[in-house]
């Protein structure tokens, strides 16, 4: 077997290559922002800045619409390292994410947004149901939940920046600040990160966020493939079964099986949780506003079809190799003090004997940093579009000029950048919990309404509003119950299922029942969005509420 490396021996730090790669990522992101600005200038401001003139190609759509945030990429390896092979089951529904992500709603969202001229997700709800209240509620929910998500990512970005500093000695890329005190380096990291990401997003809008997201997605796959080639042969030089058997020897038999190697008393993946995560990734992702708006921005049908295939192969290259890498990591480094450090430690240790090893490890480590920047950028655009398009222009200044909208968009982005910084000067400890609340609540609020919007002629505004409110509320309620109750009590009441499953079920039931109990929607409005139209007819579905 490959001799395990004591944690202390592996405690090397990022060199100048790591820092150089982060600076390159920043430079490329700013450059992409300026290129995006040129593309935006080619069309009208609103559609260009918030929707990229509906010109997303297959690569941009595939690698940015459903790929998870920086936080997920940073947290996933630590889960594998901690709990073992069962994490492959936890993430397994990514096998169908490409098809559920694009084939369930993509075609209809793209079509309806073109027919109505909708630029944002609330725009789409407003136009489809002919009721401003639906759009307003969608806006408020999106802004509320996405602000929490965005703020949390600022903290992650600042910590990555801090840890990349040569000689720092700390390697964890986690958002957890345990062992990574909030000090001057953190504030410098926060300042650099915030200025960069707000700056390029402000310059290039939606396209800047998409292009930087695409850039980090490519970095990520390069990093994973390189790490696989560096680490796995070392761990399995005496047989492909050795990494697992060595990891089992270092932990226990549970590491090779479900429900996983436990931390404390809590089982990682009992049956109910395993079922729930097929809903979380494959169905919850459909309801992400950031994903929905990117589908609305796709160029054409062919783009969507190609995206399904591209994303299928991308997911295969990312997730299963990462599982194997981290199992090998447990065999090679059985006692890493902070589980989040496994990827940086493996990267730096395995590349140490190569020419330019620091640069190679820097390339691998730059990917999560890019992912965090792209995530913040995405949320900034969605929040700004919600405030500017769906509230400012719709309710306050319907006749606002392009110039005024541009100024207000910039002010909103700067304002939310300031909020992101202010909230992280003294970052609170329960942000991770808020992230989970926000992600699953958004999914619970929007999956059913989105399906009703796209496919159900009888769906009403009241049904949609009820589905949003009850879906989000149920998810938050069950999440609070899970935090408040002990594990067995929660499992007894919830049948072991995650809150999002109950949120989705409550949302679907409420949406259907309330729609059937309320007056049918206007026939001409439904017909304009569901029926074949004369070639010369232009459809716009105005609100009447």
């Amino acid at each position: 077997m490959a001799d395990p490396i004591p944690a202390a021996d592996a405690a090397v730090t990022g060199g100048y290559g790591t820092l150089a790669m982060l600076l390159i990522v920043i430079a490329v992101s700013v450059w992409l922002g300026t290129q995006a600005q040129k593309a935006v200038e080619r069309g009208g401001f609103m559609k260009g800045y918030f929707l990229g003139n509906r010109g997303l190609g297959a690569w941009a759509l595939a690698l940015t619409a459903t790929v998870q945030s920086g936080g997920t990429f940073m947290g996933f390896p630590s889960l594998v390292y901690a709990h073992g092979w069962v994490v492959a089951l936890w993430i397994a529904s990514y096998m169908v994410v490409p098809i559920t992500g694009f084939a369930v709603l993509g075609k209809r969202f793209a079509q309806i947004s073109r027919r109505t001229g909708a630029i944002t997700v609330p725009d789409l709800f407003d136009a489809r149901f002919g009721d401003q209240r639906v759009g307003l509620l969608a806006s408020l929910l999106i802004i509320f939940f996405m602000t929490f998500l965005m703020v949390a990512q600022f903290k992650a970005g600042a910590i990555v920046m801090k840890l990349a500093w040569p000689g720092n000695g700390a390697l964890a890329l986690a958002e957890d600040t345990t062992g990574n005190p909030i000090d001057q380096a953190y504030y410098v990291g926060l300042a650099i990160f915030s200025l960069t990401v707000v700056g390029y997003t402000l310059i290039g809008g939606f396209l800047a966020s998409v292009w930087t997201d695409l850039f980090q997605s490519v970095l990520m796959v390069i990093g994973v493939v390189m790490l696989f080639l560096l680490v796995v042969p070392l761990a399995s030089m005496n047989g492909m079964d050795r990494p697992t058997l060595d990891a089992v020897a270092a932990t226990g038999p549970a590491y090779a099986f479900g429900p996983g190697f436990p931390k404390g008393d809590k089982l990682f993946l009992p049956l109910g949780t395993a079922i729930s995560f097929f809903f979380v990734w494959a169905i919850g992702g459909i309801g992400s506003p950031a994903s929905m708006v990117r589908v609305m921005a796709c160029k054409d049908n062919q783009t969507m079809r190609r995206s399904i295939v591209l994303l299928s192969f991308y997911n295969l290259l990312i997730y299963l190799p990462l599982v194997v890498i981290c199992i090998c990591g447990r065999a090679l480094m059985p006692n890493v003090p902070h589980e989040d450090e496994i990827i940086p430690r493996l990267a730096i240790w395995s590349a140490r004997q190569w020419a330019g090893g620091s640069f190679i490890s820097g390339l691998i480590l730059a990917a999560p940093f890019g992912a965090v920047m792209a995530t913040v950028s995405t949320y900034l655009v969605v929040i700004a579009s919600g405030l500017v398009r769906d509230i400012y222009q719709r309710f306050l200044r319907p006749a606002a000029s392009d110039g005024e909208i541009r100024r207000v968009s910039h002010i909103v982005m700067i304002l939310f950048g300031v909020i992101g910084v202010a909230a992280n000067i003294r970052p609170v400890g329960f942000l991770q919990t808020l992230i989970i609340f926000s992600t699953t609540s958004t999914a619970s609020a929007f999956v059913t309404p989105a399906i009703m919007l796209a496919f159900w002629r009888r769906a009403t505004a009241a049904g949609t509003i009820s589905a949003m409110v009850i879906g989000a509320g149920t998810n938050v309620g069950f999440s609070i119950a899970r935090l408040s109750l002990d594990g067995p009590t929660y499992d007894r009441w919830s049948f072991g299922l995650e809150p999002i499953v109950w949120g989705l079920a409550a949302s679907a039931t409420t949406g259907v029942v309330v729609s059937l109990l309320t007056s049918p929607p206007r026939a001409e409005l439904v017909s304009s969005l569901f029926d074949a139209q004369p070639a010369t007819k232009r459809q716009v579905a105005p609100s009447t509420a």
């Binding site: 397994a92 096998m95 559920t100 109505t116 407003d126 089992v248 395993a274 079809r305 399904i308 719709r394």
Partner: protein, 101 residues
């Protein structure tokens, strides 16, 4: 006067959405059932490997994952239609298309 026929995009999208959701249900049922029956509460002594993967991971996750890629590719290039998504309404109409009550 008879109502206009349903848009071809609506019909195609509904059919494709049903197929996608069916694929999700089948993948979930197979993967969870197989992994629960073969990957939970076992002894290490009974474990065999395919490549780096424990047998239950390979047959319960890797194989269906590869199958889904093949099916997704077939779906994208053979099943999914290429109907026109329609023209975007004019930019001027788009901006004024914001409903103002």
């Amino acid at each position: 006067m008879s109502p206009p026929p349903e848009d071809v995009v609506v019909k195609a999208a509904r059919r494709e959405a049903c197929m996608a959701l069916a694929m999700w249900v089948i993948a979930m049922f197979y993967t969870i059932t197989y992994c629960y029956l073969h990957g939970y509460n076992r002894s290490v002594e009974s474990l065999t490997f395919v490549l780096w993967f424990p047998d239950w991971v390979f047959w319960g996750i890797v194989v269906p994952w590869l199958t889904c890629i093949v099916l997704s590719t077939v779906f994208a290039f053979r099943v999914m239609g290429d109907e026109s998504l329609g023209e975007d309404i004019d930019e001027s109409a788009g901006d004024s298309g914001v409903s103002h009550g």
